[in-house]
Each structure stands twice: as C-alpha cells, then as structure tokens.
C-alpha cells in the first residue's frame, strides 16, 4: 500500500443516506484511521447500522435506499456507479448481529470466500482454514471436527466462525454490526478479546449498543444521534470528558 500508515483508511465526506424520502443519515463527515477499532454508538434507529452498511454497499440489497456524498476507501470513492461491489466486499468484510454460518461444514464455511474466488489448491485452503480459525480463537475447539456441520456449534462459536470466515478472504476492514448482542457474557468476552487481537492486522468498525463494550474495545468512538454525527473522538475522551452535552447524557444513561 502506498499510503502512509497515518493516513485514514476510509474517509466519509458529507454522506447522507435516505430510505425513500426519509433521511436516516445526515451529512456525516468522518475519517476512520487505519488498524484501529472504531465504535459507532447511539440509540436505536440513529443510523449507525445504516452508515456501517454503506461502507460495503450492503444497503444496495434494500430497495429504495439512496446514498449521497463521498465514501473513500484508500482515496477511491466507492459510492458511485461502476464500482466493482464484489471486489469492494472482499476488501471490506462484515460480521452480522445474528451469527449466520451457512448450512455447510465448518471447513466449507471458512473457505467459502476463497471458493467463490475459484481457489482450488487444497493445501492452500487447509492453511487458510487453520490460520483463520486460529486468528478467530476457534481452532482448538473445532480442529477435530472441521467436516461436521457448522450449525452444531454454540452461538458464540458460530459468531467466531463467522469472523474466521470473514478474515479468510483477508479483508482490510472488518465491519461488525452488534456482533455480541445475541451472545452470553462469556462468549461476549471472548469476542472482545478477539477484537483486541485483530486490531493489529485489520481496521475494525463496530456498531454496539453496549457502552462498556465500546469503552473496552475501541480506540475511537463516534456518537450518532438521529442520523447526525454528534461527536467523534478518542474513546477515552468520549467516555471521560465528552465535549457535547448529548453525548454525556447518552453515555451516562440519561436517555437512549
């Protein structure tokens, strides 16, 4: 990569997103620094998930969604027609709120991204499976049953499998849409530890409802309210000395 590490990996400039006539995100301008964890927080319906899905164009799947403004990935605007969405999604992976492994074996789940790219080399695939599962802290638990169905795993394991599946295609950015909201506290802690390890390799943008989680895992936190970016700063600062009154009210639990 020719850009300096200090350069942000994603820059949003004046991004607005509409559902039909309803504007869900209002003129958001922000930068996402490289190899950091950025948390998007805010009350339900504030547009944080919508904003997140704009980054890998998953909003395209919803009829009637329109996005304006510039979303630059490594200086390239991805919010324009003619962008290769498939290429984009290989660079920007996603982990969903509800874990969604395919009804296939654990092995097939991990290599799905490579399979569709046409990779056939067995030894390479084996290597990727081990590496991805190890990175996702799942290898030791499943190495003896790689060829059994992924649907037999526990909820937390499934979510880690989804993370492994995501990092198997070696993305630059991982988007996480409330990845722990359906998990019990123990599994949540494991995922958080995992995020902590992954930050060295990937840029992670995580949407969360859980204030403690945001403060624990993220380097930067953005607070969105009713589609507006209210405040965006170092996580320590947001949680100790927020500049905005509304941010303080939200993180101290006065509303939301």
């Amino acid at each position: 990569m020719n850009t300096a590490p200090s350069q942000p990996i994603v820059r949003l400039h004046d991004v607005s997103i509409f559902y039909g006539r309803v504007q869900a995100v209002h003129e958001v301008t922000m930068d996402f620094p490289r190899q950091q964890v950025i948390a998007l927080i805010g009350p339900s319906g504030c547009g944080k998930s919508t904003l997140l899905r704009a980054l890998n164009r998953m909003n395209d799947l919803v009829d009637g969604v329109r996005t304006t403004g510039r979303i630059e990935l490594e200086g390239e605007n991805l919010n324009q027609p003619g962008v290769d969405v498939i290429q984009l999604r290989r660079r920007v992976g996603m982990v969903f709120q509800k874990s969604n492994p395919f009804p296939k074996t654990i092995y097939e789940n991990v290599i799905y991204g490579l399979r569709i790219q046409g990779v056939k080399d067995k030894s390479l695939l084996d290597e990727v499976v081990e590496k991805s599962l190890t990175s996702a802290a799942l290898w030791d638990e499943v190495k003896d049953r790689l060829h059994t169905s992924a649907l037999q795993l526990s909820g937390g394991q499934m979510q880690r499998l989804c993370i492994a599946r995501c990092i198997a295609v070696n993305p630059e950015i991982i988007l996480m849409d409330e990845p722990c909201s359906a998990l019990d506290p123990r599994s949540t802690i494991r995922i958080e530890d995992l995020i902590d390890e992954l930050r060295n390799t990937y840029t992670i943008i995580i949407v969360t409802h859980n204030m403690q989680q945001a403060s624990r895992v993220s380097d930067h936190t953005a607070f969105l309210y009713e589609g507006h970016l209210v405040e965006y700063d170092q996580t320590d600062k947001i949680f100790t000395k927020p500049a905005q009154k509304r941010t303080e009210d939200y993180i101290t639990g006065r509303f939301g």
Binding site: N56, M58, L61, D63, I86, Q87, R89, R90, G93, M94, F96, K98, N100, P101, F102, P103, Y112, G113, R115, I116, Q117, T148, S149, L151, Q152, C162, R165, C166, V169
Partner: protein, 448 residues
C-alpha cells in the same frame, strides 16, 4: 371469558374431531386401496394353466421346453375324451336327417365354441388367425368361467312376464343319450387335468410386451411409456420452473409486470388438464410441428406445462424460506448474486423444491387428459429413446381407461386392468419414495 371447564371441553372436542377426521381419511384410503391392491396383485400372482406356460415358451421364450412337452402330452391325454366326443357327435350330426340336425346344430356349435375357448383349437384344426383363438385359457380363474359356459346355456325364463329372468340351463339335458353326453362329465371332473393349473408368480407382467390387445403378456410398453412421459415432463419443467422461481424471488423487482406474471402462474395452475391437452395438440403438434402426429415428446412437453406452475410455486416458497442472512453472508464475502444463489440459497432450498417435484411427478405419471391428445395410443411396442421424439406410446393412465371402455372383450382382461391400476399406484409410490429418500438425505446433510 369462557369458564375453564368449557375451554377444556372445547379443546377436547376439537382434538377428538381432528383424530376422527384422520381416522376417516385413513379408512377411506384403505377401502380405496385394498381392492385395487388385491385385484391388482392377481395380475402378478395367479393360477396359471398349461396354456399360460405355452404362451410363455412360444411368445416369450421362457420355460423348459421338455417339461412343457410332457405337460402338454398329459393334458392332451386328459382332453382326449372331450375331443373324441365332439368328433363322434359331429359324425352323427352330419348323418342325421335335416329336421333332426336342425334341433342340435346351434347348440352343438355353442358347445364346440365354448370348448375351443377353454382348451384352444381342436386337434387337426387349421391354426386360427387371432392369437386369442390359438390358445386355451391361460388363467384358472378365467377357465372356471369358461367351464360354466360349456356346461350351462344362458336362457331366459319368461313365465314371470316382462323381460324375463336369466337362468342357466345345463346343456347336458339337450344332449342326453347322444355321443356328446360324456363330454360334459369329462369337463366337469377333469378340467384341472386338462389345464393343469399351478400357482404362478408372473413378475415379468410389469415389463413384458402385450400380445393380441392385452389378451396375453404384460404391460411393459405402458410402463415404459409412462416413465418416458413422466421423466420427459420433469426434465422440461424442473429446470424451467426452478429458473423461473429464482428469477421471481431473487432478481425480479416488485412491479406491475411481475405481479401480472404471478397471477398468470396461479391461473395456469387452475386450468383443467383437458385444456392443456388441447393446447398441446394445437401448439406442439399442429402449429409447431414437433412431430407428425402424437409423440412422447409432445406429450412430455404438455405434461411439463401442466406441472410447471406447481413446480414454480413450490420452488418460490422454498427459496423464500431460506433465511435472508445466508444471502447477506454470501454477498458480504464477495459473492455475486448468482454465486450466492447457486452455492448457498439453492442448496438450502433444495428439499422444498424436491417436495414440489415429487408432487408433480406423481401428477404427471397419472394425468390422462393431456396425453390423450398428444401422446397416447392404445396398443404399441416399447419405444427406444430415439423413437420418443416421433412415436406415440401406450401409457398406464390412458390404457386403464381404454381397456375398460373400448376393448373388445373387457371381461376377459379384467386382471390386466387391475394390474395396470395397481402398477400405476405402485409406480407413483415408488417414485415418491425414491424422491423422499433423496430429500431426507439432503435435509440431513444440511442440518447436521
């Protein structure tokens, strides 16, 4: 608010009604299927006579020639008194004066015909043209009916007035004191030596060609024709239906055209099958000239059209039932739309799609009206694969109807009709069973 007691009573009566309706349904099914099975099985398992074994050897090259020869010799010895009586009486009859001859002539002819029906042509007689006259009765149950016809004449008793009452008069009375007299006793007592009935399992009934309009042989061409038609329909309708369903579910945007399309598919599902038959004739044969005349190809396509709406509907349902998260996950990993459909959505929907295919397959196998116009003939040889493009074929559903309504001797071949019905039911059940097993396998693979 209902009282607890009332609610419990309602609950219980509803459960009772549910159980009752299921029991009734099962009983109806049993009442329907039991006679079909029982009579149908009689086409496969019955008491075959020496004549049956003769047909098997002479027309199907099955059985032991030497053994049959011995059996035929023994049968001939038993039949000898019958033929002797006939010959002796004939000689007497020719010598009789005209008035007396007139008294016996018709009755004697009737006896002689009945005997020929039972035992086959008389010794020394020129081989008859029709195959059914070349052999005696092949089945013991039919032979018994024929024995009755030798021994008794049908007559009407008009003493009660009106149209009269049917009575059976022993023929013996008429011929008492003549040289024909011993014939009746011989037939009555020795028929089983003359025909030598043996319990026979005729499994090849399913695959044997038929001879002389189903008087002999099996239902091979019909079974093969039904298989061709069903598989042809499936080959045509499944890819088209599944592709249409994928388009409707995954690609089509909700607009007016798509809504109209959906209404059309629903309407198509409700069109009477005879209309499909007419359409098949008008379109595939008369307009498109797929074949000169009826053909398996035209019939398959018509049946395919008939089951297309069912397959589209079932596939649509199955595709919609696939969790949206699968698609999202696939797309987020950089899969294209088609890739996501092919590698994740379609496999997950496969059990549901197969259910639709199973139902359609049963329907296509049993549907009669569409093939009357486009593919079915009453009598035919088994077709090769290449011939299916140009030739019509007999098929089970049509021939079941044809045999019991248009055959020259319906009563003689009841067992073939029931055998056909039984075989069709069995065929559909087997097709379904196979498909259900495949489906269960796939489901299991998906879930575990």
């Amino acid at each position: 608010m209902l009282r607890l007691g009332t609610r419990k009573l309602l609950d219980r009566s509803f459960t009772g009604m549910g159980v009752l309706s299921i029991v009734l349904l099962a009983a109806a099914l049993l009442i329907l299927l039991a006679p079909i099975c029982l009579r149908g099985i009689s086409a496969y398992v019955f008491q075959g006579t020496v004549e049956f074994r003769r047909v098997a050897l002479e027309k199907f090259q099955r059985g032991d020639r030497e053994e049959l020869k011995r059996e035929q010799a023994a049968a001939a010895r038993a039949r000898q008194p019958v033929f002797a009586a006939l010959a002796a009486f004939k000689k007497d009859l020719d010598a009789m004066p005209f008035a007396e001859r007139k008294k016996y002539k018709t009755d004697f002819a009737a006896v002689q015909d009945a005997v020929k029906d039972l035992l086959g042509p008389l010794p020394g007689e020129e081989a008859p043209l029709l195959m059914r006259s070349q052999y005696g009765q092949t089945r013991w149950d039919r032979a018994q009916v024929k024995i009755q016809q030798v021994l008794f004449a049908e007559d009407y008793d008009f003493s009660g007035g009106g149209l009269g009452r049917k009575v059976l008069k022993p023929r013996l009375e008429k011929f008492r004191g003549t040289k024909l007299e011993p014939l009746f006793a011989a037939i009555e007592k020795n028929a089983s030596e003359m025909l030598r009935p043996q319990w026979t399992f005729y499994g090849r009934f399913l695959t044997d060609a038929s001879h002389d309009a189903h008087f002999f042989g099996g239902i091979g061409p019909e079974v093969l024709g039904t298989l061709y038609l069903t598989l042809g329909a499936i080959l045509f309708a499944v890819p088209m239906g599944v592709i249409a369903a994928i388009y409707l579910v995954e690609y089509a945007r909700e607009n007016r055209l798509v809504r109209v399309l959906r209404v059309c598919i629903s309407t198509l599902a409700g069109v009477p099958s005879i209309v499909f038959g007419l359409f098949g004739l008008a379109f595939f044969i008369n307009a498109a000239h797929l074949s000169e005349n009826k053909s398996v190809l035209a019939g398959s396509l018509t049946l395919g059209l008939l089951i297309l709406p069912t397959i589209i509907r079932a596939s649509e349902e199955a595709l919609r039932a696939v969790p949206a998260t699968y698609k999202q996950a696939a797309l987020s990993l950089g899969a294209g739309q088609w890739h996501a459909v092919r590698s994740v959505i379609l496999p997950a929907a496969l059990p549901g799609i197969l259910t639709g295919v199973i139902i359609s397959m049963g329907r296509a196998a049993g549907e009669t009206a569409p093939i009357i116009f486009t593919a079915a003939v009453s009598v035919g040889k088994p077709l090769t694969l290449l011939q299916t493009f140009t030739q019509p074929t007999p098929a089970l559903p049509w021939n079941i109807y044809n045999l019991c309504s248009e055959h020259v001797a319906v009563d003689e071949i009841r067992h073939v009709q029931y055998g056909m019905v039984f075989s069709l039911v069995l065929l559909v059940l087997l097709l379904n069973l196979a498909a259900i097993i495949v489906r269960a396998r796939i489901s299991r693979k998906l879930r575990t």
